[in-house]
C-alpha cells in the first residue's frame, strides 16, 4: 500500500472525513452511476488525490455497472452454478433484453452479475435493490418485476451446548475485564490455539501477541466480514443472527492488544449485514458494553461498520485494509504485516468474523472447555459449516472438527435431494480442493483435508451432482478467478486469464502448458487468490482428467 496515500488518508481521518470509496458508493446509490464531478468531490472530501480516486472508481463492481431504477443482480457464484449453470443470467438477460453491465435506454432497469449473495442454500439467487430472491421461478420473477425476499433456513448446532449460534451475554468480556486481565486473556487465546476460520488457519493468539507488542499511537481491530467465497454464508449468519457475539469478540481483541477502535468490513452483497451490526452496536453502547468506559472500567472500545463495494480479493487482509481506507482493493507485499502497519499505518489485527466470534467462549469458559468442543481431534473449538442448495437440508451447522465429510454430507445435511448422487464436493471456497465422492470418508479437519489436496477454508461444503461436467467446473472457477484477480501480481493477473482461455473454448487443453501455469501461480502469486486457484484444478486433473478435454 502506498505509504503516502495512507498518510494522506490518516490526516483526513483525523478530521472525520469519509473515505473516497464511501463518497463514490453514495454517488452511485444516489444517481446510478459515477461522473467526474463525483470523483472530484470524493477527492476533495477524502484527501485522496484525484488520480487515486479515479483508480478506485474503476476497481469495484458496485461502482462499475450503471443502475436503473430496478437494478437486477444475478448471482453467478459456484452454488448457483451448481444448481443451474449459466442459465439464470442467460434467461434474465434475454427477458430484459440486456447484457450484463447494461442499463435500459429508459433507465428503468439494469442488469449485472454478482458473486455471491449468500443464498447458496436456495440457489439460484437474484438481488433486486436490497431484496434477495432465490429458488425456482426466481428468473421469471426478476423479469416480471415481482422479486420477493427468499426465506433463509434456521441454523443448527450439533454440539451438546451450542456456542456460535447462541446469543452472547457478554460474559467473556466481563470476565476478561475482571479476573482475566489483558495478559490472562492473551495467554488464554494463545493456549486455546484458536485458528483463523477464514481460510488461512493462522493462529489468532500469535497475531494478537505480535500486535500487543507493536508500537503505535493507535491500534485497530478489523473484522473481515468480506465472505466472498461462493457457497459460503457462514459469516452472513453470524453478522445477521448473532452480531453481538462478533462485537464482543472484537472488544476482547481490542482489550488484548490495546486497540480502542474496530472496523467491521461486511460485504455489500449482503445488504442486511451492515444494518444488523449497526443495530447491535447501538444497543451494546446503550448498555455500556461498547464506547467509553465499558462496564465501568477504563477500557474504551467502539466500532465502525463499513460496507465493501464488490471485490473478492478484498477478503485478503491487506486488500481488506486498503478497502477500509477507501483505496483500491489490491494486495500488498508483506512485510510489513498489518500487525505492524495496518489502518492509517498503525498496528492492526485482522481476524475473520467467525474467528472473532470464537473468542467470547474462550474468555468465558477457558482453554480446556474450548478444546473439548472437538473431542475427537487436536484441533480446538467448533466450526460452522454450510451446505449448498443441492443438499436436502442446506443451512449453517455448528459441528465439531473430526467428523468425516460423508457424515456431514449425509447425516447432517441429508445427502443430495431428489435422490441425486454426489459427484464431488468443493470444500472451503473456490480456492479449495475438490473431493471426489470416493474420498468422502476424509475427516473434516485441517491436516486430513490438506493431505488430499483440500482445505477447511471457510467451511462451505458445496456439492456437484452427477450431472455436472467437470470441465464446466474448471471453466467456471477460472472465470471467477480471472474476474476477481486484483491485477497486481503478474502470475495471477495474466496467468489466470490464460488458464481461463485454455478452458474457454472447446479446444483441447495443453496439459504441459497448464502445469507450467499452475506452478507459476502456486509458487509466484502474491496472495492466496492466484496461489490457491491451482488447488481445485489439480484435484480435477487428478480425479477427473478424462472430463477436462486434455490434449
Amino acid at each position: 500500500m502506498s505509504r503516502n496515500l495512507v498518510e494522506l488518508i490518516r490526516r483526513h481521518h483525523a478530521v472525520d472525513a469519509p473515505t473516497a470509496l464511501e463518497v463514490l458508493k453514495e454517488a452511485v446509490d444516489d444517481h446510478g452511476e459515477l461522473t467526474d464531478d463525483d470523483r472530484r468531490r470524493a477527492a476533495e472530501v477524502s484527501g485522496l488525490p484525484e488520480a487515486a480516486v479515479y483508480g478506485v472508481s474503476t476497481f469495484y463492481d458496485d461502482l462499475l455497472a450503471p443502475r436503473g431504477e430496478r437494478h437486477v443482480r444475478v448471482c453467478t457464484g459456484t452454488a448457483c452454478f451448481a444448481a443451474a449453470r449459466e442459465t439464470t443470467i442467460e434467461r434474465v438477460g434475454e427477458g430484459l433484453g440486456l447484457a450484463p453491465g447494461e442499463r435500459g435506454a429508459d433507465g428503468s432497469v439494469s442488469l449485472a452479475e454478482t458473486v455471491c449473495l449468500g443464498f447458496c442454500h436456495s440457489s439460484p439467487a437474484i438481488r433486486v435493490g436490497d431484496t434477495v430472491d432465490a429458488g425456482p421461478g426466481v428468473a421469471e420473477r426478476a423479469i416480471a418485476g415481482e422479486t420477493r425476499a427468499a426465506a433463509e433456513p434456521e441454523w443448527v448446532s450439533l454440539l451438546p451446548e451450542p456456542v456460535l449460534v447462541r446469543r452472547s451475554g457478554w460474559s467473556g468480556l466481563r470476565r476478561a475485564l475482571g479476573e482475566l486481565g489483558r495478559e490472562g486473556l492473551l495467554a488464554e487465546v494463545e493456549a486455546a490455539e484458536v485458528r483463523g476460520r477464514g481460510g488461512a488457519g493462522f493462529p489468532a493468539g500469535a497475531k494478537w501477541a505480535f500486535a500487543a507488542k507493536a508500537e503505535g499511537e493507535q491500534k485497530f481491530i478489523v473484522a473481515n466480514g468480506d465472505e466472498g467465497d461462493p457457497g459460503s454464508y457462514i459469516d452472513k449468519y453470524l453478522m445477521e443472527r448473532n452480531p453481538e457475539l462478533l462485537l464482543e469478540g472484537m472488544a476482547l481483541a481490542g482489550f488484548a492488544v490495546g486497540a480502542a477502535h474496530g472496523f467491521v468490513l461486511c460485504r455489500s452483497e449482503y445488504p442486511a449485514s451492515k444494518p444488523s451490526l449497526e443495530i447491535a452496536a447501538a444497543s451494546a453502547r446503550e448498555r455500556g458494553l461498547l464506547g467509553d468506559g465499558i462496564l465501568d472500567t477504563d477500557f474504551d472500545f467502539d466500532v465502525t461498520i463499513i460496507e465493501g463495494a464488490g471485490s473478492y480479493v478484498v477478503g485478503e487482509e491487506t486488500a481488506l485494509l486498503a478497502c477500509v481506507q477507501g483505496l483500491r482493493g489490491t494486495v500488498s507485499a508483506r512485510p510489513p504485516f498489518p500487525a505492524e502497519r495496518g489502518v492509517y499505518g498503525m498496528p492492526t489485527v485482522v481476524n475473520n468474523v467467525e474467528t472473532l466470534s470464537n473468542i467470547p467462549f474462550v474468555a468465558t469458559a477457558g482453554t480446556d472447555a474450548y478444546r473439548a468442543l472437538s473431542p475427537d481431534t487436536d484441533t480446538t473449538g467448533s466450526k460452522l459449516v454450510c451446505f449448498n442448495e443441492r443438499f436436502a437440508r442446506p443451512s449453517v451447522y455448528e459441528v465439531p472438527f473430526g467428523m468425516t465429510v460423508r457424515e456431514l454430507c449425509e447425516d447432517v445435511a441429508g445427502g443430495l435431494r431428489d435422490g441425486a448422487e454426489i459427484k464431488a464436493v468443493q470444500i472451503g471456497g473456490p480456492l479449495g480442493g475438490i473431493l471426489p465422492a470416493s474420498l468422502l470418508d476424509t475427516r473434516f479437519d485441517f491436516e486430513p483435508l490438506a493431505a488430499v489436496g483440500c482445505m477447511v477454508g471457510h467451511g462451505s461444503i458445496l456439492a456437484f451432482d452427477q450431472a455436472t461436467d467437470m470441465r464446466d467446473v474448471a471453466r467456471h472457477l477460472l472465470r471467477f478467478g480471472a474476474d476477481e484477480s486484483c491485477g497486481k501480481c503478474f502470475p495471477c493477473r495474466i496467468g489466470l486469464r490464460r488458464a481461463y482461455e485454455e478452458f474457454a473454448t472447446d479446444a483441447a487443453v495443453d496439459r504441459a502448458r497448464l502445469e507450467d501455469l499452475l506452478e507459476a501461480l502456486e509458487l509466484g502469486s502474491l496472495c492466496a487468490h492466484g496461489g490457491g486457484i491451482p488447488a481445485p484444478l489439480r484435484s480435477l486433473l487428478t480425479h477427473f482428467p478424462e472430463e477436462l478435454g486434455l490434449a
Partner: protein, 705 residues
Amino acid sequence: MATAIRTEAGPAREHADRTASTTCGYCGVGCRLETTAVDGRIVSIRPALDGPANEGHTCLKGRFAHGFTRSPDRLRTPLIRTDGELRPASWEEALEVIVAELGRIKGEHGSDAIAGLASSRATNEDCYAMARMIRAAVGTNNIDNCSRVCHSPTSFAMRKAFGLSGATGSFTDIDHAEVAVLMGVNPTQGHPVVGARIKQAALRGCKLVTIDPRRIELADYGAIHLAPRPGTNAAVVLGLCHVVRREGLVDADFIAARTEGYEALEELLEGYDPAAVEEISGVPAGRLEAAARLYGEAASASLLWGLGVTEHKYGSEVVQLLCDLALMTGKVGKPGSALLPLRGQNNVQGSSDMGALPDTYPAYRSVEDPETADLFEAAWGAPLSRHKGLTIPQMFDAAVAGELKAMYIFGEDVAQTDPDTAHVAAALENLEFLVCQEIFENETTKFADVVLPASAFLEKEGTFINAERRFQVVEPAIDPPGEARTDFEIIGEVSRRLGHDFGWETPWDALDEVARLTPHYAGVSRERLGRHGLQWPVRPDGSDSPTLYDAVFDRPGGRGHFAALPYKAPGDAADQEFPLVLVTGRILQHYNAGTMTRRTGNAELVDRDLLEVHPLDAERLWISDGDKVSVRSRVGRIEVEAKVTDRIEPGHVFTTFHFPETRTNLLIGQSADVNTSCPEYKVVAVDVRPIGEQAAFTPVVPDLD
C-alpha cells in the same frame, strides 16, 4: 547488466553518437544529468541515479526543456548595429568594434566608465574569466551578477552572522529535520527536486511551517501556515524569536559558548510579543506561538528561504534575523538543522563565489583589502583598482546620469528581469556602447551595439556551484550552433585583444587558477570533482564540507553574531490609489525571463503570465477568471490575464515575469534592500481593474485579519 553501477535511469541508449554527464543549467538544485545526442542534436536527457542533489530525479526543465538549443532563433553569427538595425557580421569585425570602442571609452572617460555583467547561468570559469577581464583588461571593479537581484541579501547577512556566504548544510539535511520552516519560498515551483524532497519528508513526518502570503502547495502538507502581509517578514521572525525565548526553548549553553551579541537581541525582542506581531503582520498570535514552539521544541529543525525573504527593502535584515533564530536555539551546524537559502539560478552561488561582484574577489575577499588585491595583481600581472565598483542598480543610475558609458553584458536580460523597466531602458539607451553576449536576441539586445553569439549550458564545459555549495562538473552535450562559440572562448579572446591574455587553454585551467588563489577552494580540481562534486570549503587534500559550523563559525573569534534589527515598513504599501499588493515570482514550467523555456514544449504547457487574484477581490473589482486586466503601480502599467484562485490572500495579487510581452517589471520601482540593493520585487502597491475602465475613486482595502 544490473550488477554494474547504473548511473542513469531509464532504458539504454540507442543510436547515440555523443553522450555526456553534466549538471543542469536551470535552477540552484543542480541535478546531475546524462545527455544523449545524435547528429548534433540532443535526443534525450535523463537524471543521473547517483546525482547527489537529485538522486535519480529531475524536473521538466532539466529533463525536457533542451529544445531551445536548436531553436531557429538561436544566434548563430555576431551582429553589429548599423543604421539602427542589427546585421550579421564576422567575428573579426565584431571583435574589432568591441576593442575599438572600449579602448576609446577607457581612454576618454577612464576605466570606471565601463561595466560588466556576468551571467549567473554561466559556469564558474566563465564568470571568473569575465571578472578577470573587467578587472585586469579594463581596469575597473564594475562587475556584478544577477545574484544582486535575488540572494545578495542572503550573502550579506550570512557572512555577517556566520562568516561564509552559503547554505550551512546540504539538501540531505531536509531528510533529517523534524521540523522545516519555509519562508518566502515555493520549492515545488522554483526548485522542484528539492520541493519533492521536502514533500516526501513532510509525508514521512517532518513538520513544515510555511510562511508566505500565498498558500503554497507545501502548505497543504504542512503543520502550520502563516500568511503575513507582504513586507512584514522581520516582525514575524522577531515574533518567533520572542516566543522561543519566552518559552525557554533557547539553547543557553550554545549561546554562551558559540555566539556574541545576544543581549542586544534580547532587549529588542521585548517589543515583539505575538500580539504586537499580529498587529503588524496579520499573523494570528496563536499560530505564531504554535509555529515557534514547533521549531523550538524539535530536536532538529531547518530554515529554508527564498526570494520572498530577500527581494525586500529589509531582506538582508530578515536573513540576519533568521540566523538569529538558529543561533538562539543552537540549530545550526548539526545534521537536520541547516539554514538553506534556495538559490535561484544554477550558478548564482558560483558566480558570486567566483568574485563576479563589485566589492569582492573569489570567496568574498574585499577588493579593498591590500593583501588580496596584491595577490591577484601578482597572479594576473596587471594593476588592479583598489576601490569598490558599481552594483547593477548603480550601473543603471550611472548610465542615466551619463557617467557610465559602456556595458558588457553576458547571459542576462536586464531589460526584462530587472526592476523598473523604464529606468533600465533609459539607462541602456543612454550608454554609448553596449555589448551583449547571448544565445538569443532579447529585450536587452534591442539596445545593443554588438551582439555576440554564445553557448548554452549544454554546449560548454566547466563547473557550477549549486545551492548546497557543491562544485559540479559541466560537460557539453553538443557544440554551439553555427558560428556561436563558448562564453569562455569569447571572453578569453576579447580579453586577449584588450591586452590581457589569460594564458588558459581550457576552463579547467581557469578552475585550477581559482583553486590556487583561493584557500576555500584549494582542493578543487576536475579529477576530484568526478561525478559527485565537492562542497566548499574544499581542503587541499580534497576533503569537502557538507556541514558548516559544527565547531566554530568563520568569523574573527569564531562566534556566531546576533543582529538586533527592528521591524521597519517596506518600501511600498497599499493605499487609496493603489489598494492591492503585488508579489512577483516564478512557476514550475518556466525559468525567469523564459529565454530558454519559452522555446521548448514548456510553452505548450504554459503559454502566458497570469495574475492570481483572490475571489473576494475579483468580485469586488468585477473581474472574472480569464479577463484581461490592467495592473498599474506608481511607476508603470501592464496588461495581463487574470486567474481567480483562493491560493492567494485577499488584498494581494501574484504574477510571473516569464513572457517578455507582459513586461511585468515595468511595475517594480526603485525600492531595494538597504544593504545590497536587491530590488523589492515582492511588495508593490498596485491598482487592478478590467481593461477599459477609467481610474475612479476606489476605497482602501479594509483591514483583513
